[in-house]
Symmetry: C2
Subunit: 446 residues, 2 copies
Amino acid sequence: MRIFNVKTIIVGGSATGMGVAARLKRNDPNATIVVYQEKSYVSLGACGLPYFVAGNFSDPNNLIARSITAFEENGIIIVPNTQVFKIDFENKLVYFDNKTDSYDNLVIATGATPYIPPLVGVELKNVYTLTTLEDGIELKKAMQNPNIKNVAVIGAGFIGLEMSETLSELNKNVHLFELEERISPNAFDPEFSQFIKENLEKNKINVHLSTKVTEIKGTDQVQAVVLADNSLIEVDAVVLALGFRPNTEILRNTKLALAENGAIIIDETGHTNIDHVYSGGDAATSSNYITGELIYSPLATVASKIARVIADNIANKPAKFVGSIRSAVVRVFDLGYARTGLGEFEAKKQGYQIRTVLIKDKDQTNYVNGQTDLYLKIIMDIKSRQILGAQMSGAVKAMQRINTLAALIWSKVPVDEALEQIDLIYAPPFARTTDILHIALAKLNK
Amino acid sequence: MRIFNVKTIIVGGSATGMGVAARLKRNDPNATIVVYQEKSYVSLGACGLPYFVAGNFSDPNNLIARSITAFEENGIIIVPNTQVFKIDFENKLVYFDNKTDSYDNLVIATGATPYIPPLVGVELKNVYTLTTLEDGIELKKAMQNPNIKNVAVIGAGFIGLEMSETLSELNKNVHLFELEERISPNAFDPEFSQFIKENLEKNKINVHLSTKVTEIKGTDQVQAVVLADNSLIEVDAVVLALGFRPNTEILRNTKLALAENGAIIIDETGHTNIDHVYSGGDAATSSNYITGELIYSPLATVASKIARVIADNIANKPAKFVGSIRSAVVRVFDLGYARTGLGEFEAKKQGYQIRTVLIKDKDQTNYVNGQTDLYLKIIMDIKSRQILGAQMSGAVKAMQRINTLAALIWSKVPVDEALEQIDLIYAPPFARTTDILHIALAKLNK
């Protein structure tokens, strides 16, 4: 299908924006596509920043999935270093510098920025966040300084965990602060929060739970963080990892519908409440595949899928995003922690009557080198007998198992005798004859 | 549920037999269970033998999953070193030594033995098979002899592959002979046979395809193998890996129904055609989950599942084995090869109209150490759009992905827009945002 003389403006050149651009151009080689991008680069794989800081590689350009030149060779117009500061939905105009540009279709893919808490001292030198290439380069350079010995990481979500590992590998003494009483409470159930805590502590991270940082002390440079009980912990730098806020400031007080946190509300086609205006990725809501609920889940995997959906719909190829089950994984030192679907608390809140199992087993036979411990939790809806969620921890090599559970959640099959007998691969270096998944399913099916 | 005064005799003390024994005792602590076992041990994990020979561990008892003593402490009677040589189904008697024993229920779990071809020279010293603990100990000892430099492995199925690797790690010069024109033709499609061949050759294994060994030459010791074209290849030892034959000689010319290859025909409850007589594992048939066909698939994973089914049925807890999709994996040096479901040829033979994709991609991001190549083939039924089979190769750490496909086959979900969007885990050390599975599903769904 081809669209003639249709111009699509994309605001934002990260995963969602460039994903839409690339697929739309494939869908319709004649489409006019203009991307306005704040940065000098597009397609940053921001998930790789902690690994860049940790020194896994030295050229930050490795994080650029595809260059501006490559997109331009493909006929996509990119306007870098340019911030769109206003959108006139009525007249279909975007405003930047002292100019405007007009669109037939608009894709708002402005992403999200790290939440900066309103703390005294948050503006001090050596207070970092990690979202842009510049952030990564600056933090990496700063951490080369041997005088920076003690670093506070505020927030124990996935990025806080990755940063704790990264800084520890750079020989920093890390203090990890979390306001909640456990690690990554939005991703994991308490058992797994506890496993992660133990792993962090084994690796000499100072974990401070139920701890509120109320001030960052220092004159010019950071000297300490102040806690709610007025105690001080001396640190030389602070990394903020308190989650993300959608970049939608310019859309406040417009007719565009926003969720409570500022995310642009989209339907399953990626469409907003305004005709010809689409959004997706970290700037927008998404939906929960299981419950249908509108959620905010700024994950790269969601962004890449919604980008396809938007591009197809703009090209008149009807497409729907069916939702996310928030499948995610994080590596903390030598172990992985993965989750998919609903957590126990979430499932109960949704009104499900649930049965859960938590199994400890091994990933492979004992007689081939490399056997490691696995933990697997599964949450089942008693009524439908469908799996609602699962969480796992173990060696990196064992983590793909969670995708088997994601597939079962996705397929909505009941836990029954047939599922208990699911035929999984076995050979001594890979698994045991009866996998941890079999043990868990058999226990659920009792 | 309890059964009173019911005696179950189990012939054979490997995976199936001991699996039935253990679960039956759990089902009914008062059950009388007697196991007749040819060997001095039970519960051998024979899959581990190549790793024992390779020197991954030195104590062969590591391969014994559970000792006779442990079973006996549990109230299971084990009669080791005893061969049942006749069964009288009419009078419900088993014959051994010069005695008989009578049963209410009988489980024939005699397993299988390696096929020994009728070759001149097959009785020579230094001609080995690898199924029993004694085989393993003998072969390992023999291979310590530095005068054994060149070894022939006959048969390029999974055990032939594992043995080629094992012998190569013991610094032997290995010649691998396969009658068919490609590696593991019953497990893999030609593309993957070729990948394995390239890997073997990269690792200095001499691969001889479409090659029939017609004689083993030697006086006392092996000196060479003779090929169909009368050429000679000098070897100092031979390992036979030509597949398995069910151990059912004593059942020929009885009323027990056997398949063409001698496997005991069982139904989905593990029951044979004779009342109160069950069988399973390597001695018996099983069924294909997709096609319902009776198959012979001597895999440990099938044995352990059918054992549960038999034990439950004997204990009056109705249970059914729903079939196998022949999920299997083999490691060859540093790479894994996995398969599940129907192969392309098999699917066509079954009359399916199929679409296939073969994708090459990477297992994780490029900027974290350890990125490796993956190949994934999926076979889809065009009519139902269900996945019929999949094959994969890649690093050991990437292989669990095949279980995601096994789960999709098991769930019988169609390949559609929703499945294309299956939510899989992503983080830089584990995957790419768009996994090879997404790429394959999108291509299938075009």
